[in-house]
């Protein structure tokens, strides 16, 4: 059995039709992980016992001829920022090195209830802060397409596992582009749903008004399938929306003809790599041939998105990360004699450089005397960014852009320049700031074989339309090749 070609869609059918057992499949995946993952480092923790137990339960049900849950036997990987009951969850940080959560993240629990099998937890930038996965306390992830390059971040392990075929699908989190950017760099599909579409309960908080959970998959249809099972109101997250969850699998089959597609000029300016531009323009051309109407739009406040993001995200992070104090869980420095020393030393020894940098920036932005100049100002600009999109979406059904300005960069290339690293998210951060859904779909590759991603942004709770468009892009590419 070649497990590399399996998708969520094909696996659930194969298990149902008894082409292979869930137990055998899980075993094959662990063999592949053990053989191939050391070179990629996508996984931080494996959970073989938990996975085999669940696989056997599926196989028992199948053996008895009982009805199977919808995702029965589909092996998935979970970004290590989502807590898993009884299974170590580190958020890529040394401060949570030995943290074994007493409960499950809602999105993970829902996937398991739907029959999916968690293989393990994936590597990521510490507390999801980074665009290259080099900020993980456990070492960087390598891009499966080119081991000298980064997989993107912060969901780099999840993207790399799907790209390398060591998981069929994965969950990631996106605060400024952390699902879509690594999806683009690794050549997989990455979907960030609308804010509130998927519960954040059990997601280790980075910036609460910007954090989203979403799937990374090999196909758009798989993303549609996974989203359906993780989405929906959760009483444990008061920001999860009480909006009905459509059957996304049916949504993507609708034709794209007649949809109006906005192309914002601000996303095609200086800094955009020529090969990325060409691939994105070809994809847009193809959608036009499928009957979409291409409409030039303007999002004039785009140049202010990154500065706005780095005020709001760091301010929220500095508050959220205040909980790591060495008292109730997490790392405690053995070198502290007093309580205040314990706080300081535990945080100092437990957090990595980028996390400290962001805590400092956020503390500054919220501090008395600077609050109006930074935090309040950024929240006002955030309103302007939202108005840009409100205006654009009054004319179009979706907006298409490149996901990233360049293809995957080299390991170490931007590691010493935080600002250059932040700019890797230039096309993705706005969607987080205004809460709209976005998807990255592979749309080509560079001459040297690096994947390129097309980003499609949609209206609030209109994942159906962006999935549908993504599906059309994928279909067009399959026909062309």
């Amino acid at each position: 059995m070649n497990i590399e070609v399996l998708t969520v869609e094909s696996t659930r059918t194969a298990i149902r039709e008894k082409q292979f057992t869930a137990g055998r499949l899980v075993e094959d995946f662990y063999n592949k992980i053990k053989a191939e993952d050391p070179a990629i480092h996508a996984y931080l923790t494996l959970c073989e016992d938990r996975a085999m137990q669940r696989a056997r339960r599926i196989d028992d049900l199948a053996g008895k001829g009982d009805p199977l849950p919808p995702l029965a036997g589909v092996p998935v990987a979970i970004k290590d920022v989502m807590v898993t009951k009884g299974l170590r969850s580190t958020a890529g940080s040394k401060i949570l090195e030995n943290f074994v959560p007493p409960y499950d993240c809602t999105a993970v629990g829902r996937l398991e209830t739907a029959g999916a099998i968690v293989l393990g937890k994936t590597n990521c930038d510490e507390f999801a802060m980074g665009s290259s996965n080099e900020n993980s306390a456990y070492g960087a992830v390598r891009n499966p397409r080119d081991h000298s390059r980064v997989p993107g971040g912060s969901s780099g392990g999840s993207a790399a596992a799907v790209a390398a075929g060591t998981a069929i699908a994965a969950l990631g989190s996106d605060t400024g582009g952390s699902i879509r950017q690594p999806a683009a760099f690794c050549g997989v599909v990455g979907l960030m749903p609308t804010y509130g579409r998927v519960s954040r309960y059990g997601l280790i908080a980075f910036a609460s008004s910007l954090d989203h959970i979403g799937p990374l998959t090999k196909t758009v249809k798989d993303a549609a399938i996974v989203l359906r099972y993780i989405a929906g109101r959760d009483p444990r997250d008061s920001t999860s929306a009480d909006v009905p969850v459509p059957d996304y699998e049916q949504e993507i089959e609708k034709p794209v003809k007649g949809l109006r597609l906005g192309v914002p000029k601000e996303y095609f300016g200086e800094g955009l790599d020529a090969e990325v531009r060409a691939a994105v323009e070809t994809a847009i051309q193809q959608l036009a041939e499928d009957g979409c109407e291409i409409v030039p739009v303007s999002l004039p406040h785009t140049p202010y998105a990154i500065p706005t993001y780095y005020v709001i995200a760091t301010a929220e992070a500095s508050s959220n990360l205040a909980r790591y104090d060495g008292v109730r869980y997490g790392y405690r420095s053995p070198r502290a004699k007093t309580l205040s020393e314990m706080y300081r030393k535990s945080r100092d020894e437990g957090f990595g450089a980028e996390v400290k940098r962001r805590i400092m920036l956020g503390t500054y932005a919220l501090s008395s005397g600077y609050y109006d100049a930074y935090y309040l100002k950024a929240q006002k600009v955030r309103t302007l960014l939202a108005r840009d999109f409100e205006q654009a979406f009054s004319q179009v059904d979706a907006i298409v852009t490149p996901t990233t300005p360049t293809a995957a960069f080299k390991l170490g290339e931007k590691a010493d320049d935080p600002l250059a690293m932040y700019l890797a998210d230039i096309y993705t951060v706005v969607a987080d700031l205004v809460g709209i859904p976005g998807i990255s779909v592979p749309c080509g590759q560079t001459k040297s074989g690096l994947p390129i991603g097309l980003q499609i942004l949609g209206k609030h709770f209109d994942e159906g339309t962006i999935l549908r468009l993504g599906h059309a892009v994928e279909h067009g590419r399959a026909l062309a090749s």
Binding site: N98, F99, V100, P102, Y195, G196, S209, R233, P235, S238, T239, A241, D242, Y304, P307, T308, V311, G326, V327, R328, Y329, G330, Y331, R332, A336, K337, L339, S340, E341, M342, R344, K345, R347, D348, F351, A353, K356, R357, I359, M360, L361, T363, Y364, S367, Y374, L376, K377, A378, Q379, K380, R382, T383, L384, A386, E390, L419, L433, V434, G435, H460
Partner: protein
């Protein structure tokens, strides 16, 4: 700032962060090019966006739950990840210093 954030930082880190933060703050200063006197700050991403539009409505409002007692994490479970505990409480170094 490091004191406010409860971070210790080595001399080397301090020097590095001063340089990094100054360049990031300079970049963030770009926001001052925009006039925002009449712009309301965004407080909730969904309720403030598209208010009054067809898509908005009560669904976007953050929900509240009933104020009723529900089971919570058992004591033993809550202490399991504690760096130090006496079985009933979290233990920390002496609070009153000097």
């Amino acid at each position: 700032m490091a004191d406010l954030a409860n971070l210790e930082l080595t001399a080397e880190e301090r020097a590095r962060f001063v340089k990094d933060l100054n360049s990031i703050l300079e970049y963030i200063g770009r926001l001052n090019e925009l006039k925002t006197d009449d712009v309301p700050p965004m407080t909730q991403v969904l309720s403030s966006y598209g208010a009054g539009s067809e898509a908005a409505g009560d669904k976007f409002a953050y929900s509240q739950r009933d104020d009723t007692l529900r089971p919570c994490l058992p004591h033993e479970e809550a202490l399991k990840n504690a760096p130090d505990s006496d079985g009933s409480f979290f233990k920390v170094p002496k609070v009153i210093e000097k």
